[in-house]
Amino acid sequence: MIIESKVHAKNLVAWAKEKKEVLVLSADLTSSTEIDTFRESYPERFLSMGIAEQNMLSFAGGLAREGFIPFVHTFAVFIYRRAYDQIAMSVSYPNLPVKMFGFLPGITTPGGVTHQAIEDISVMRSLPNMTILDCGDATDVESVLDVAYFANGPVYIRMLRGEIPRLFDKNEPMKLGVNRTLSQGSDLVILSCGICTEEAMRAIPLLQKKGLSIQHIHVSTLKPFSGKPILDLIARSKYGVITMENHSVTGGLGSIMAEEIAEAGLGKKLYKIGIHGYAHGANKAYLMKEYKIDAMALVEKIEEITKTSFNIQEEDLKKVYIEPVHTISKAEAL
């Protein structure tokens, strides 16, 4: 598997070169959100706002009203938890192009409960006008800039930093409202987003070898959600759908799918893999195992659903080599 390092740090500088209207706002987490290179490259377009997120979000709304496009950078929790009223009234209500880059989504941080954004999709999805994007790999992290930039109005992005796998072909960028079909099958539909997609990609080849036919879809646009093509696949599936997310089982991808299925009157079973309750501080691999959002958790869930034992071990999952894949077949546009 290809691992890329500091993807956003390098990419943002190149991408923003000619986009003079793009301003980067930081709340004292400049290197932690990989915008230190941007600060050094374009100091006049970098605004240090201090540890004061409520002002930062309303201030960004003001900048956006005057034609600038603020790229707000901080940890995800300090965007949606700390400044929710400001996002609602200064950004979302007036439908302003403020692009919010939320780092450390879910349990991707040892920072513990104060730093783990486990209900951000749930909270931000309730806001009218809001677009929500979730990055799963280096290609997503690079191409999310264009998606956020061209999307109308405010955008909230679950962003990755540091060492990131490249799961998707570098030449197949993220597109608004377009899911990535990673495998096709009729027994079960698996919808994954964010870092859970890598986990699913570890488990699925082994499950396929055991004879399961799996439709795997990576969702990067959580809102507006492109439900129709997925619903057709679920309707045709034998067992229904599993959602897998680095987020609370309340309000995220699982809940989105529950609403879609219920509204369509589908009568198919939904299984949610996600975080139950609050987590605590530890390393990412440990937490993903502990809170059952890793590859093994998916295997176990499928064993439960199919009432079959696959005899797949942790070591087998670790050994799976993932090369960057081409997204299969036609685009599932909005």
Partner: protein, 304 residues
């Protein structure tokens, strides 16, 4: 002589704001009346003497609510049209405590920016002249009813305008109660740090908030010292003294945002309100008898 003439004109407009707000409160059975008492001279001076706004040829009739802003709403407008055309050289006005909307509407009518019958649409279902105004309401262009957000949004606009080389100033009207909010101080420190000396804050220190006298709810004094320690240039004046308001407004920008702390009286020229002390935030008549008292008062008194 000419210099006294403008003062008389501002005085007349301030009296008009009070009278209009009182009459409306009686008609409506309630209203934000003490806010008119305390801020009438500040708003009258801003609209007639201080702010460089685009002209409005004919007083504008308030429009129906245009729907919320969004990608699909091409009918949307803000209340900024009451301040005339937008231009690099023009000032922009931001009402931070949107609870003062009625007072601003009265000021817009008195200065011939809003139609004489504009208050007939106040709080009227389906109209833009809302009780706690939002960005579609006359004289407003951002949504500030959630207190503390107005100053931050205005600071973002001030930063952007400075960056674009626009010379117009950002005028923000604040209430003293907002100084209890954390976000206000976040905004103040950011304004000082980013040297937004194109901003002028007018703070209406009437000393009262919803629960009563501010010093019994949560003290914010000494305001001018606190502002100075945050890096602003702060002047403290009598907020009913029109000349003092105008003079303080002419203070030359020196890299620091300017705060004009205006001491005011929430019952100014309306002694009848004193009976309600210390609850001035919103006047709602307890019974018909009280309403009759206010009607008599409005007929008897010339208001200053």
């Amino acid at each position: 002589m000419e210099q006294f003439e403008w003062i008389n004109q501002v005085k007349k407009i301030a009296q008009g704001i009070r009278k209009r707000t009182l009459e409306h409160t009686i008609k409506n059975g309630g209203g934000y009346l003490s806010q008119a008492c305390s801020s009438a001279e500040i708003l009258a001076t801003l609209y007639t003497k201080v702010m460089n706004l685009g002209t409005v040829e004919n007083p504008i009739k308030p429009k129906p609510f245009p729907g919320v802003p969004g990608a699909g709403n091409s009918r949307y407008f803000t209340g900024a049209e009451f301040h005339g055309a937008r231009g690099k050289e023009y000032d922009r006005f931001f009402l931070s405590p949107a609870q003062y909307a009625l007072v601003v509407y009265s000021a817009l009518i008195e200065t011939k920016r809003m139609a004489e019958d504009g208050l007939d649409y106040f709080n009227k279902d389906g109209y833009s002249v809302e009780m706690i105004g939002a960005e579609h309401s006359p004289g407003m262009e951002v949504t500030t009813g959630s207190l503390g957000q107005g100053i931050s949004q205005a600071a973002g606009i001030a930063f952007a305008r400075k960056r674009k080389g626009e010379t117009g100033r950002i005028i923000v009207f604040l209430s003293d109660g907002e100084l209890q909010i954390g976000q206000t101080w976040e905004a103040l420190q950011a304004m000082a740090f980013h040297k937004l000396d194109n901003m002028i804050l007018y703070i209406d220190v009437n000393g009262y908030q919803c629960d009563g006298k501010m010093t019994t709810v949560m003290n914010v004094e000494p305001i001018e010292k606190r502002l100075e320690s945050f890096g602003l240039k702060a002047l403290r004046i009598d907020g009913h003294n029109i000349e003092a308001i105008a003079q303080a407004s002419e203070s030359k920008p020196d890299g620091r945002p300017l705060a004009i702390v205006c001491d005011t009286n929430p019952t100014k020229d309306m002694e009848i309100l004193c009976d309600r002390a210390p609850k001035f935030h919103y006047v709602r008549f307890a019974n018909n008898e009280e309403k009759q008292k206010y009607i008599l008062f409005s007929q008897d008194v010339a208001l200053g």
